[in-house]
Symmetry: C2
Subunit: 545 residues, 2 copies
């Protein structure tokens, strides 16, 4: 009897590293004259974009950048940041797109921790960058992105601070540059610092394999056809724009760049450039929903919106649908390349009422196709919680769309991967249909009289009040109960002639809807502090109570 069939060696004919840069080569080859980038009046074809990316790689190479070096970018969603997603990893260098709303101290920390050798910096953020770079012992080479759309401000903002501007820097490179670098699909391609609400941010490393597969899965989960027209409402510094720079390249699509995200700007781009896809945090959806009649524009195609975190309530969903928006709800973390779970609509949901669809669709759902698993596990036993929609556990991920690891932080990496799963730190439940739903961040749970209260559940209840624009609930220390929920509420600016709701009315409103022990014992009407990515900063609220 012969032995079993065994594997043959790899060969250059039949093995290539999974590399999202191949998507650029393919689109430049197959759709050379199709628009790759539109930014105001500026337009680049895929062939031009490829040339510019090669030029960027060549210029960086001449500036001494080699494989494994970090190139940081502090920029808005303009063509330069898109190009960096290809030009930097072409050299095997690591792209570090920095949140452009961070303070100088944090930017300095990130530049130092990542050992950035180059910083591409948009003039809009030059004041912060200048202050950050000034504190560094070995400052990076700074290249200005000199966008004429950015005004000089009275306070000295908008200045040029670098050795050269981006276009001049590109000119130092060759469009035909062919980097002599061996890429392994397990090599780091990008670095994204978490926007930690406490402590220093951690540097999350992505590799080529994960970026390639997430880019693919974005297509699958969204049923995204070839040649999408994709509007850059989601910051590219946010988990590399959920890997969409590579997704759009894989589809031969068009990137519509946008410096300033407003409802009016979104509608304008949909009407003018026929944008059919965009992503964003709930705040972006709010901009669309709350746009004035004057800001809105009619369009006759379906515009697909992918949103994370809190999904829109039924009424908003209904109104968006009527206007031509189709909302897909995803969930993920910086450590999962952005979205790694999707509330995939079941074929039979379309027969349900819009309210029922909104309830089902508000869950975080199931694993991305390329992921191996998303589960709610008991973090002690590492066993799945019962599928009862009630028992809480920690949401955990495993698969090729889980990060490479934290940069220079083996202990945090080990903790994050304990037991063979990535621990999200989010608490959730699992329904009988296998769909998961977030209940809270582990640290946001309120324990009152021994009962767990999900701050999300209380917040959802507050949001149901027609006057509430934003709401956040945190734990307030309580002598008797240990903790009780304290609500912070921001009302709609225009109450349409009605009297603003008061504390007693708000509490009464909640008691009609959720268990009494879950209702806030205190309601504070205020403007809610938000992070640069639009998340409500609960840690600030906690400090207040």
């Amino acid at each position: 009897m012969r032995s079993a069939i065994t594997s043959l060696p790899k060969h250059s004919a039949n093995y290539a590293a999974l590399n999202p840069l191949d998507f650029l080569s393919r689109s430049a080859g197959v759709y050379p004259n199709h628009p790759a980038i539109i930014y105001g009046d500026l337009q680049y074809t895929w062939q031009q974009t490829q040339s510019r990316c090669h030029q960027l790689a060549s210029a960086l190479h001449k500036a001494g950048i080699i494989k494994g070096d970090t190139v940081s970018v502090l920029a808005a969603n303009t063509p330069e940041l898109y190009e960096a997603h290809f030009g930097v990893p072409m050299l095997g260098a690591v792209l570090n797109a920095i949140n452009c709303r961070l303070d100088a101290d944090t930017v300095a920390y990130i530049l130092q921790h990542s050992h950035s050798k180059v910083l591409l910096c948009d003039r809009e953020f030059s004041a912060v960058a200048k202050a950050a770079v000034a504190t560094l012992k070995t400052p990076p080479l700074v290249i200005d992105i000199d966008d004429p759309a950015v005004p000089l401000t009275n306070k000295g903002g908008g200045q040029l601070i670098g050795q050269m501007d981006y276009e001049a820097f590109l000119q130092t490179g060759d469009t035909g540059f062919s980097p002599d670098v061996e890429i392994d699909e397990w090599d780091p391609i990008a670095l994204n610092y978490t926007s930690g609400t406490t402590g220093r941010p951690k540097g999350v490393l992505y590799h080529y394999r994960g970026a390639y597969l997430t880019a693919m899965s974005n297509v699958l989960e969204w049923d995204m056809p070839k040649h999408p027209i994709y509007l850059w409402t989601l910051p590219m510094f946010h988990c590399n724009g959920w890997c969409f720079p590579w997704t759009v390249a894989a589809r031969g699509g068009t990137n519509v760049c946008l410096r300033k995200v407003t409802g009016a700007n979104i509608y304008e781009q949909i009407a003018k450039n026929k944008v059919d896809h965009f992503c964003g945090a709930p705040i972006v959806l709010s901009m669309v929903v709350n746009a004035t009649i004057e800001e809105r524009r009619e369009f006759d195609h379906i515009c697909n919106v992918m949103t994370a975190a809190a999904p829109p309530p039924a009424s908003v969903l209904q109104s968006m649908r009527e206007q031509g928006f189709a909302v897909t709800h995803v969930y993920g973390l910086t450590e999962t390349y952005g979205p790694a779970a999707v509330c995939s609509a079941q074929p039979d949901w379309s027969t349900l009422s819009i309210e029922e669809q909104a309830i089902l669709g508000a869950r975080q759902g199931v694993s991305y196709t390329v992921g191996q698993s998303v589960q709610v596990l008991d973090p002690e036993s590492m066993q799945p919680v019962p599928r009862d929609g009630e028992t809480m556990g920690e949401v955990m991920f495993r698969g090729n769309n889980v990060m490479h690891g934290y940069l220079d932080n083996p202990q945090a990496t080990e903790e994050a991967f304990a037991g063979g799963w990535f621990h999200s730190g989010d608490l959730g439940v699992c329904y009988p249909d296998g769909y998961i739903q977030l209940k809270d961040r582990a640290k946001d749970i309120i324990i009152s009289g021994g009962e767990n209260i999900s701050s999300i559940e209380v917040e959802s209840c507050l949001y149901a009040h027609p006057q509430v624009a934003s709401a956040a609930v945190v734990a307030k220390p309580d002598e008797k109960w240990g903790e009780t929920p304290c609500a912070f509420v921001e009302l709609h600016p225009d109450l349409q002639g009605e009297a603003p709701v008061n504390e007693a009315q708000m509490i009464a409103f909640c008691r009609e809807r959720i268990a009494h022990y879950k209702c806030p014992t205190m309601v504070i009407f205020t403007t809610l502090p938000k992070t640069s990515t639009g998340k409500i900063q609960k840690f600030e609220l906690r400090q207040q109570v």
Copy 2:
């Protein structure tokens, strides 16, 4: 200065082998009650299909099958063969789906060469299987697929020849079986024997990685949304149905199984089950086009057809479009997991006339998204030929969708991969837009007076004659010219009252359309011999001349 960022080790939280069986787990988890398989009145949900696949794996395990063993199947496109695409590789065993139209001698060779330990055999093919197995020193365990749809024939066909029938065999397995096998994505998942026209067939090995990526790329190239209803017109024994068993699982789609492919059956399934995708050789398109009025059925959705080899002429394309079919043209070989090139339509083609679209769309096109490259190379210099649409070279592929290698044939593997490219043996040209077009098989080229004549070009000319149903051109030895083209022509059965074209008229018809030296010097009107997959058997015609 710190050293560059380097890779961290792999971890079970962030690394999983690319494995198309994960698509089954996901669909069974996310869409448990959605129909996975429809076959006549039989219907299985994704959960049932998963259970049956686990049962099959368990039964095979109990029968002694281990990783690396070969399990062969000789079957029509029925649920059993679909299940084998998951149940067999679950154990790390290798699936060998045998062309069910082969003769007993070839089947015996394949069973022996692959060292098959099990043969699942449909009753329809039991006579051939029995004869084949009888010649083997170590015959496999034979399991009958006892489909009541198969009649017993006068000649003794349709008998049961195995130790047990498939359903009884499944009952020996556990639905909850969890195989304890470590899968590396580079392990072999399937074996497909080439239908070589000369010599013994070669065993082409596929691995998990290539199967996974091709399954994904099928979605991308076809813009296939979730929940397709896929009709099995393409044999699953043909390059594992171009990897569509795994594609349909990845999409949570429905497999409509079909034993007998006819125009009437295709229309019936489209109308009855709302089939929206199917694949096939040109012969399948012919069935659709040539279906009678009585066989045709009206439908009000778009039905997508993926076809390889010769694309339909403009008139056929137009007529299919009007009926609601959208044709995508692909190209590949057994060695490239089926399709690896696609004639991706450019966004601006839709403004062209249907004739122009047919001409552009008749080319083989560009690489699949997951492939690295498809090029026409000069096989001497291994340099690309000029993009002039005229200079011939050999079509070569490289990337993750190129086979693992030939089983037990290192010399053929080495030759196929010479110079770092898979040599297709097909001759083609490259157009200025980078799209390639096949001109001939290397061995089908006719060299007349030192000039290369593409038999495909001459055949296309013959097909333009309204009476021609099928045509094939081969080289005829010639004292003066070395070789000249000899045409074999099959006329339409119904000439609608016109007199059949004769040899002189056929040659005159060609001389009006192509260079005189390319025109056939002899035309033989006959019924053309076809292979089991519908390809015209040119080697038989060559023997005649």
